[in-house]
């Protein structure tokens, strides 16, 4: 398992696109600094930045980069055969890859999102804690989802991008029905509960209740992992003959 973790981490961080993993969070932190400077640390503005750009766009994008990066390229070029042609249960391989993805997600996505709330403006780190929790939950769900998507289809990046930008960011923000089926809304439910009375004032709202949000997240994570393992067990590796 350690070998798979090592190779995966090198693959994820050794490629040119890993630069994006640094550039995007830095961009967010700069925006957070600007927001603080422009609005004199207003918590509402801080919540707008973190809840909007950070949670809505940056987090799913980062998870897409990471989730597709830990397994997609190897399936595309066929080099995953060196992992699969070993007497290892396929779930071991998937768990190792998922583990690397989740760790990277924590460092490159959850930490910056949490920090941006603290930098842009907060009261006793309440907003920071709430968004940290929401980002962690959403990050786990997104990363697992995109890892599964990479195992299922070679077009994972395109589909994931459409999902993240159209469904989660655009439609999820406005269309009531879709808001109920959105990772972001599910993850925001505990954040809203955590903030109590301040939630409404700062505009941290979820379309679902905490039990519903948490159970849907759990179902998604477990389901995506299960599908990914099943699919990896029967992954077709035939050359273009």
């Amino acid at each position: 398992m350690n070998v798979v973790v090592g190779l995966t981490a090198r693959g994820l961080l050794g490629r040119r696109r890993s630069l994006l993993l640094v550039i995007l969070p830095v961009l967010l932190l700069v925006l957070a600094g600007l927001t603080r400077w422009a609005s004199a640390g207003s918590v509402t503005d801080s919540a707008n930045l973190t809840g909007g750009f950070a949670m809505g766009t940056l987090l799913p994008l980062m998870c897409l980069l990471i989730g597709t990066g830990v397994i997609g390229p190897e399936i595309d070029d066929g080099s995953i055969v060196y992992l699969l042609a070993k007497p290892l249960p396929r779930r071991t391989i998937l768990f190792a890859k998922l583990g690397v993805g989740l760790a990277a997600m924590l460092v490159f996505a959850v930490l910056p999102v949490t920090a941006s709330a603290a930098i842009a403006g907060d009261e006793g780190l309440q907003l920071t804690a709430a968004y940290g929790l929401a980002a962690l939950l959403a990050g786990i769900a997104y990363t697992t989802l995109f890892v599964a998507l990479s195992v299922l289809t070679r077009n994972a990046v395109i589909i994931g991008l459409l999902y993240a930008l159209l469904w989660e960011t655009l439609l999820g923000g406005f269309v009531p029905g879709i808001r109920d089926v959105s990772v972001r809304q599910w993850a925001l439910a505990p954040a809203e509960a955590l903030l109590g009375d301040n939630a409404r004032a700062w505009g941290v709202e979820s379309a679902v209740t905490v039990p519903v949000g948490l159970s849907l997240l759990a179902v998604l994570v477990v389901g995506a992992t299960w599908v990914a393992i099943r699919r990896l067990q029967t992954l077709r590796l035939a050359a273009a003959d």
Binding site: L7, G11, G78, S79, V81, A85, K86, L237, A238, A239
Partner: protein, 303 residues
């Protein structure tokens, strides 16, 4: 001693049949899987290696299933055709990783031994991305050998090798087979296969076209009917005379071209100029119509 048995195996992708009702038993020694490009060789090897389920039929390794059974990789070493590897690491690191994934007790020694076998010890501390195609091919070979498997499956292993590397690999495969291993490799070049393979299985358009040692396959390929196309000043007269002289089995006249079929190649080439002179026919063009490997294979299928 390990045996792979394919029993009535077919595989299709949508409407396209890649492998059609193939039954082959692969035992110890070297087996060459010969066929033109697109014949289904890679599909067949994928099924033997457990990376593709047959649509119908079964593939077994010493009686046990191959599909969805990662335990077979203790016995099987696989050399895939794609060149992609984890090429940001060095060859030694990659071999070590492969040995650890196999759970070998002394991974370092196993990696060193595999590098020695393919003669890649000296450049093994450079990243794989800096290697030539032939060197990458040898590293692929080393990864397949790191756990000392009793079955070796190689998909087009000679592709991209220079003559010296080719000889080296042929020698290596021969040695591995002499130790009692089961070695199967695919190729579309008869000369490659007949040099080292004890058994040759010919695959054409997904069908198992022929099977046997190289003498039998060579005979099948040379004793087939030959086709010639001829352009002359009087095709009809020449056609009649060739048949009368017993130099041709069949002729087709049409559109300014005379097509001749003969099973006795030597007799035909000697008789043609003589018959033409006797009949006063001038030969404008004589060419063999079907000497490509594809037509040789096509003949084997139609037989």
């Amino acid at each position: 001693m390990t045996t792979i048995v394919l029993d009535s195996v077919s595989r299709w992708y949508g409407n396209v049949v890649a492998v059609n009702d193939v039954s082959i038993t692969v035992g110890p020694g070297i087996t060459g899987l010969l066929g033109p490009n697109g014949a289904g060789k890679s599909t067949l090897i994928s099924m033997m290696g457990g990376f593709l389920a047959p649509s119908t039929g079964t593939v077994t390794l010493d009686g046990g299933p191959v599909w969805r059974n990662p335990e077979i990789y203790r016995t099987i070493g696989l050399v895939p055709e794609p060149e992609a590897m984890y090429d940001m690491v060095t060859a030694r690191q990659f071999l070590l990783a492969n040995a650890r994934l196999h759970g070998l007790a002394d991974a370092g020694a196993a990696a060193q031994r595999a590098l020695e076998v393919v003669d890649m010890v000296e450049p093994s501390d450079r990243p794989i991305s800096t290697y030539s195609k032939g060197m990458k091919q040898r590293i692929k070979m080393a990864t397949a050998l790191v756990h000392d498997p009793s079955v070796l499956l190689l998909d087009e292993p000679f592709n991209g090798m220079d003559p010296r590397q080719r000889l080296h690999l042929m020698d290596l495969l021969t040695r591995l087979a002499a130790d009692g291993r089961t070695v199967l490799f695919s190729s579309h070049i008869l000369e490659e296969v007949e040099q080292i393979a004890g058994t040759i299985e010919v695959l054409v358009a997904g069908r198992h076209a022929a099977s046997g040692d190289y003498r039998r396959i060579r005979r099948l390929m040379t004793e087939r009917p030959h086709q010639y196309t001829i352009a002359s000043t009087d095709d009809r007269r020449l056609a009649g005379a060739l048949i009368a002289a017993g130099a041709a089995d069949g002729v087709t006249v049409g559109a300014g071209v005379l097509a001749v079929q003969t099973s006795d190649w030597g007799r035909f080439v000697h008789a043609l100029p003589r018959v033409a002179r006797e009949q006063g026919v001038r030969l404008l063009e004589v060419s063999p119509a079907d000497e490509s490997l594809e037509s040789v294979f096509a003949y084997l299928v139609a037989r």
